[in-house]
């Protein structure tokens, strides 16, 4: 019996060794671009993803290539996509990802460079985008992703409440605060809402930039304890006074959800939520909501977020993947794409299309003024950790556990450790 165990043990050990040798990553050479029977598209649940799925049959009818969809929820999507691409087996031909992960993906060499495609494509027409938007999917000067949705921060407000209190949409942060306090005082509604919960960083960054601050300098040293950042954070915390109860626990989606279902005077939120906000079936206050550009501070900073979509570096069907993207996101298809429920892509041809703007007033706000300084998410490979460490630090400050100055100083130190892992250019 013991002998049997020994033999068995050896066999198992050998098997384990064999299995571990499978860790050596295999990479394959470039795509053989004969026409495939199907391509694989990796999506993250969102209105944009739904629109792609809706319109894909039209491309299939045109090219005869079937489209297989894989959808993974946001929380684990990027991890799974990265791991899949790093196996080099070409499991996906198109991948949707959040702009926050652009740096990580590009740094991991997970994406195909798209410059050769975009500069040559009349249908895609890169010049239909303003310069700021053109660079949206760029990392290190090279394009790795196409813009899948253009979502700047804009102000959404209750036109009925404004009317009853004789308020005008705020152009500066001070006006925003004044409006919020007036509404809060009147008792008709909570003054305002921005993100203070798990997604606090997104709003806090906007505030820091508006006050003339920066998150880090060119040498990747964090600069969140400068006097501009302190002023911004104090202002950010101060606005809590006119926020509804529970604001500290609301995530990004909750800011919208609360706005459409309860009475809040104004919010700052990405434009991409438009389809839900103006739909009377989803939004109790749909008829009384209007939009206006985000308020400006010392700097007219506009935070631009949105989805990206690109071609994994290990795809075996790059030519056809591009064909799919060109069709879906090209100039001709843009109005259809918008009408299929996607968050708008800020092509100039769309934002200046009178008919579309009349139907969706927020579109006009997507043509970002030249005077504005556009900020996209920091191009950091360590962004996910930077984001969490920052929002954790903010949580301590917002709960009153530490003062703004002390909290920011502590955060700056914590961010040093995070940014130290950033690859040097």
């Amino acid at each position: 019996m013991r002998k049997k165990f020994k033999v068995f043990g050896t066999v198992t050990a050998v098997l384990s060794l064999l299995l571990s040798s499978a860790f050596v990553a295999t990479s394959s050479s470039s795509a053989a671009d004969k026409k495939p029977s199907a391509i694989n598209v990796f999506l993250i649940p969102s209105p944009s993803a739904d629109a792609i799925k809706k319109l894909a049959p039209k491309w299939t009818a045109k090219t005869g290539i079937k489209v297989n969809f894989t959808e993974v929820e946001y929380g684990t999507a990027h991890q799974k996509a990265l791991l899949s691409i790093q196996t080099g087996k070409g499991e996906q031909d198109v991948v949707q990802f959040d702009n926050t992960f652009l740096a990580a993906f590009a740094n991991a060499k997970a994406l195909t460079q798209l410059n050769s495609y975009t500069s040559a494509s009349k249908e895609y027409d890169i010049n239909d985008f303003t310069p700021a938007l053109q660079q949206y999917g760029d990392f290190g000067g090279k394009k790795f992703g196409l813009m899948l949705s253009t979502e700047p921060f804009i102000q959404w407000y209750r036109s009925d409440i404004y009317k009853s209190l004789n308020l005008k949409p705020a152009k500066t942060w001070d006006q925003y605060k004044a409006n919020a306090e007036a509404i809060q005082k009147s008792g008709k509604a909570s003054g305002q809402l921005i993100g203070y919960g798990p997604a606090s960083t997104w709003w806090w960054m906007q505030m820091v930039w508006s006050f003339g601050g920066k998150l880090y300098d060119s040498k990747f040293n964090p600069t969140v304890d400068t006097k501009e950042a302190i002023a911004a954070t104090k202002f950010y915390k101060d606005l809590l006074k006119s926020a509804p109860k529970g604001a500290l626990g609301f995530n990004g989606d909750d800011v919208t959800i609360q706005f459409v279902s309860t009475d809040i005077g104004q919010i700052l939120q990405y434009s991409g939520y438009a389809s839900g906000v103006f739909d009377p079936k989803m939004s109790k206050n749909a008829k009384n909501i209007a939009v206006t550009p985000a308020p400006a501070g010392k700097v007219n900073a506009i935070e631009l977020a949105g989805w990206n979509i690109g071609i994994p570096s290990d795809s075996k069907n790059k030519t056809w993947a591009w064909d799919f993207l060109e069709y879906m996101l090209g100039k001709t298809n843009a109005p259809n794409f918008l009408n299929a429920g996607a968050a708008a892509i800020g092509r100039t041809s769309i934002t200046t299309n009178k008919a579309l703007v009349a139907k969706n007033p927020y579109l006009a706000l997507l043509s970002l003024p030249a005077s504005a300084t556009v900020y996209t998410y920091p191009s950091l490979v360590t962004w996910p950790e930077f984001d969490k460490v920052s929002s954790d630090g903010l949580a301590s400050i917002l709960s009153g556990k530490v003062s703004v100055e002390a909290g920011l100083k502590k955060l700056n130190t914590a961010l040093k450790a995070v940014l130290a892992k950033e690859p040097k250019p």
Binding site: A22, V72, L83
Partner: protein
């Protein structure tokens, strides 16, 4: 003395009532919310009974082909894991019951307690790395096997006392009759251990039905299970509590019904297992 007894009785009954209410109210609230129209779900004051029920939330769920697939996946996953766990666990438990002392027993015991006590993440991180390299992510048989191993300590600890309780004389009688070890196990031991085995099977099904971390990380779209689907509701883009409550109810109601029916068996299994652990 009379007053004291009376007070004691009142005390006991009030404690019981509070316990009953606390245990059942959240369930009642979820199930009733699942039948409410959207406006009613967040109406204040809350509508306990004064709302007109609707089947919309359930209709919405069932008309979605993904949901039906997820439900079926979960059933397959549960039955598969329970079956594999019982097969492997019974064999191991029997071996342990009949060999109270053997070489490597301490190692085995340490492994089992470690497996039971370690947070799932500890193993999931390397398993994720492993499975993605071997392209085993999202394969139902793999998920079933992994869950079986994770549940092994529970299975073995629960079944060993049942096997140990079977008088060895019966097995020896079988041996005298010329039966092989395997035949003795199958024909004599298993039938006698059936009460314990069926209790274990029920618990294992429950544990697997409720499993979250393994399917969410190591599974993919095609092997999504109910808990994973439900977890997707936390970032609902609208205050869609109706469908959320309906999905939760569909996870809750089967368990509640099962419990009421096999209640006695569950407690027997739970206590014997726990008492003899």
């Amino acid at each position: 003395m009379q007053i004291k007894k009376r007070l004691a009785k009142i005390f006991v009954y009030s404690v019981l009532t509070i316990t009953l209410l606390t245990s059942l109210f959240p369930i009642f609230w979820t199930i009733s919310t699942s039948f409410k129209k959207r406006v009613d779900t967040f109406a204040l004051p809350p509508k306990f009974f004064n709302f007109s029920p609707t089947m919309d939330n359930y209709k919405k769920l069932f008309s979605d082909p993904t949901f039906v697939k997820v439900y079926l996946n979960t059933i397959l996953f549960t039955l598969g894991a329970a079956f594999l766990s019982i097969c492997i666990g019974s064999l191991a438990a029997y071996a342990l019951a009949r060999n109270p002392r053997f070489r490597g027993k301490t190692t085995f015991e340490i492994l089992l307690i470690l497996l039971r006590a370690m947070p799932g993440v500890v193993l999931i991180v390397p398993l994720y790395d492993l499975c993605s390299k071997l392209h085993l992510l999202g394969e139902l048989p793999v998920l079933i096997t992994i869950i079986t191993v994770f549940n092994l300590p529970f299975t073995i600890w629960m079944l060993t006392p049942f096997f140990a309780a079977i008088p060895i004389e019966l097995e020896e009688a079988g041996m005298v009759d010329g039966l092989s070890t395997w035949q003795i196990f199958r024909q004599i031991v298993i039938p006698l251990a059936l009460p314990g085995i069926s209790a274990a099977a029920i618990f294992l099904s429950l544990l697997t039905w409720n499993e979250f971390l393994v399917p969410v990380i190591l599974g993919d779209q095609s092997t999504q299970t109910l808990p994973v689907l439900i977890s997707g509701f936390i970032s609902a883009r609208t205050l869609d509590w109706g469908p959320m409550a309906a999905a939760s109810s569909l996870a809750i109601i089967p368990i509640a019904v099962l419990t009421v029916f096999v209640q006695r068996k569950l407690v027997v299994g739970l206590s014997l297992g726990a008492l003899k652990e």
